[in-house]
């Protein structure tokens, strides 16, 4: 078979295979020391985007599914935080965002500050400040806004980016796969849907990024977040009496599969 086509097939397969993000985990160099000061965590409203990717590129946001995932992510995070020994602060974020646009914008700036950190982590993975053993980054004073307003020691940010292909696009991808398969003899599978989840814990006082994890998977569910939260650091000195009371109040069911 033509060498060029085989190379093309391998490239396409590779591109599709890496369409789901590989897990990336970072934690602060002095994590244990910082966790001594962290007992309470506030969960910022997850930023969720799920796009219905149409054949003709007229994409649409899947608002209903986004809402379901948003709620489910909060439940997953609450449960996991309790399991790890943290107290989750009951703060009405939605009302605060509604009432105070300055506060809402500060929350956005906080996300933006982390975005700069993430960009550098992604693009300079080998620099000493970004390697796992010496990770040390801070979002600065902006974290104080949320911390002060919510009364929490730390902030959990969550970002969920998903897609669902339309029938037309699925057929198109299948056709492309068929063509390439016929030409190259290599079977290629392209996911019909998928999502990338990013979780970040930030020290509300110092602004230090204590822990960050990103991973992706096929399907639209909160499973990646659950797996990610298993690696979440335990509270160094949890108040287990308080935590066990709170855990009972958290709903145990979470939205599993949004779409069949």
């Amino acid at each position: 078979m033509c060498t060029g086509l085989r190379v093309l097939a391998i490239m396409v397969t590779g591109i599709i295979a890496t369409g789901c993000a590989r897990p990336h985990l970072h934690q602060h160099q002095d994590l244990t020391e910082h966790l001594l000061e962290i007992d309470t965590v506030v969960i910022a409203p997850p930023v969720v985007s799920i796009e219905y990717v149409a054949f003709d590129s007229l994409n649409e946001r899947m608002r209903k599914e986004e809402s379901i995932i948003r709620e489910a992510l909060v439940r997953v995070a609450q449960r996991a935080l309790y399991d790890h020994g943290y107290d989750v602060v009951d703060f009405d974020f939605e009302q605060a965002l509604e009432d105070d646009s300055e506060f809402a914008f500060r929350v956005e700036l906080l996300r933006h500050e982390f975005g700069f950190i993430r960009r550098e982590l992604n693009e300079r993975p080998d620099t000493s400040d970004s390697s796992m053993d010496s990770f040390r980054s801070s979002v600065g004073s902006i974290a104080n806004t949320l911390s002060e307003k919510s009364g929490a020691d730390a902030i959990l940010l969550m970002h969920y980016d998903g897609f669902q292909k339309s029938t037309g696009l699925i057929v198109k991808d299948a056709t492309v796969a068929l063509v390439l398969g016929a030409l190259t003899g290599i079977a290629i599978a392209s996911p019909q849907n998928g999502a990338t989840v990013e979780l970040v814990m930030i020290d509300g006082t110092t602004g230090n990024v204590l822990w960050a994890d990103v991973r992706g998977a096929a399907g639209l569910s909160t499973e990646s977040a659950k797996i990610s939260m298993k690696d979440f650091p335990d509270d160094v000195d949890p108040d287990w009496d308080l935590v066990s009371e709170e855990t009972d109040e958290v709903a145990t069911d979470t939205a599993e599969q949004v779409l069949d």
């Binding site: 930023v47 969720v48 985007s49 796009e51 149409a54 054949f55 003709d56 590129s57 007229l58 994409n59 649409e60 946001r61 608002r63 965002l97 509604e98 646009s101 300055e102 506060f103 809402a104 914008f105 500060r106 929350v107 956005e108 700036l109 996300r111 933006h112 982390f114 975005g115 700069f116 993430r118 960009r119 550098e120 693009e123 300079r124 600065g140 004073s141 902006i142 974290a143 104080n144 806004t145 002060e148 970002h159 980016d161 029938t167 037309g168 057929v171 198109k172 299948a174 056709t175 068929l178 063509v179 016929a182 030409l183 003899g185 990013e198 006082t205 110092t206 602004g207």
Partner: protein, 445 residues
């Protein structure tokens, strides 16, 4: 005879079936439907039957607005936002019988853009307003966006399938911000064709003339935006209007032909824009700093210098730019590379900025001191000086600078009064600096 799998004829049949299926789907989805007539909203006798298509678009526009509001992008400052709302209401024609309400907002976006959504929401970026020189120019932008809504360009575009993106995806642009622009860049609901832009340009002149504004400011506005777009978006993702020079020429032609009988005396030019201008300029610069757009911040400062010559705060903000470049050399390199080439920075450029950190800090200190020599009450400069001293391990200087900074009186509530806004302290900064002071004092014992 059964064809073995993998044989050439079997593969060919599969290929033909697959391609046929694909073509069938493609053709069915590309089918052009006849477009309903979308009457301008000013046609008082028109009946606005809202079909499902328009209904969905209006819903999506409402969702976009809710997103913008929820995330704090809609500027709530009473001085600026009420100015724009009042000006928009003054220019807007009567569309009372339509299903659309015109609403005017200012967005926290330093890029020089504005947009109109099909539901009547009109958004001017703070970056755009900061470029403008007078009220007539602001009015011309508003009039242009109002015209898009009146002529229902957004809905007409979508009905024809002209735009490639139906729904805005704000989070992809801005959140966890790897992009340098946000909000407006990918809002497909606000994309228009060249014909629609020209139609809006002409209608805008009509609205401006009726409201008594100086029409000569419309092409001047286009000229200012064109200069800014070239400065901002040579390679970047900012949304810019194509063929701006052609449109400027066309505006001139319209003014000379269709509006030649308009009396030029007593037209409004400056209006009440004077007190607003320093507010928007400062906000735009602060946003540039927040988003680490250092090169553009310096351009904005140079532009502001022409109007606020020698203002101490301009030197303070220059100090902030250089301090930012010193603190974040990777982002400074990224910013520069993007501006000059539209690409990510080479490692050499990043190293260059890392090695220049000390030099940038020195430049920052020079500008902070210049700000203080211009006005010793520019106490925010001490914050920057304190951060630099802290970074460089000069503990006693850092303590002294931070303590001086913290003597700024806290502002009460959200009251904004002209120059009193400049250098306003933020609660989050105070707590952060107090913590740094505790740390510094403990270390110095």
């Amino acid at each position: 005879m059964k064809r073995p799998f993998g044989s050439r004829s079997h593969n060919l049949n599969s290929l033909v079936r697959g391609v046929s299926a694909w073509l069938l789907i493609f053709l069915s989805q590309s089918c052009m439907f006849s477009s309903p007539r979308y009457s301008p909203l000013t046609e008082q006798e028109a009946k606005y039957d809202i079909g499902e298509h328009e209904y969905r678009l209006l819903l999506e526009a409402d969702e976009i607005h809710a997103d913008l509001k929820r995330r704090g992008f809609i500027y709530q400052d009473p001085a600026i936002s009420s100015y724009i709302q009042n000006l928009g209401n003054k220019i807007a024609p009567d569309i009372g019988k339509s299903h659309i309400d015109l609403e005017f907002y200012v967005l926290r976006d330093p890029t020089p853009n504005a947009m109109a959504l099909p539901n009547g929401g009109i958004y001017l970026n703070i970056g755009l307003i900061s470029l403008l020189e007078n009220e007539a120019q602001v009015a011309s932008v508003l009039a242009h966006e109002i015209s898009h809504v009146i002529y229902r360009h957004g809905i007409r575009s979508k009905a024809k399938g002209d735009s490639s993106v139906l729904a805005a995806n704000i989070s992809d642009i801005f959140l966890f911000g790897t992009k340098l622009s946000y909000v407006t860049a990918s809002l497909g609901l606000a994309d228009y064709s060249r014909d629609q832009e020209e139609e809006a340009d002409h209608e805008a002149l009509t609205l401006l003339a009726k409201a008594g504004y100086d029409l000569s400011q419309a092409p001047r506005t286009m000229e200012l935006l064109s200069e800014a777009h070239h400065a901002d978006s040579t390679f970047g993702p900012f949304r810019s209007h194509p063929d701006e020079e052609d449109r400027m020429a066309l505006l001139q032609k319209y003014i000379q032909t269709d509006f030649r009988d308009i009396e030029s005396a007593d037209v409004i030019r400056q209006g009440e824009f004077g007190p607003i201008r320093p507010l928007v300029v400062e906000e735009a610069i602060q946003l540039r700093l927040s988003f680490r757009q250092y090169q553009l911040a310096l351009k904005d400062l140079d532009r502001a210098e022409a109007y606020f010559e020698g203002a101490p705060l301009l030197n303070y903000y220059r100090g902030e730019v250089y301090r930012g470049m010193g603190d974040h050399p990777f982002d400074a390199a990224y910013d520069k590379a993007w501006m000059e080439t539209g690409k990510k920075p080479e490692e050499e450029l990043i190293v260059e900025f890392e090695e220049a950190s000390h030099e940038n800090y020195e430049k920052a200190l020079k500008f902070y001191k210049k700000a203080l020599s211009g006005d010793s009450e520019t106490l925010v400069a001490y914050r920057g000086m304190g951060y630099i001293a802290y970074t460089q391990g000069r503990e006693s200087e850092a303590i002294s600078a931070f303590e001086t900074y913290l003597t700024i009186d806290e502002r009460v509530g959200d009251e904004r009064v002209g120059e009193d806004r400049l250098g306003e302290e933020r609660l989050d900064d105070r707590l952060y600096i107090e913590r740094l002071l505790r740390e510094l004092r403990e270390e110095s014992i």
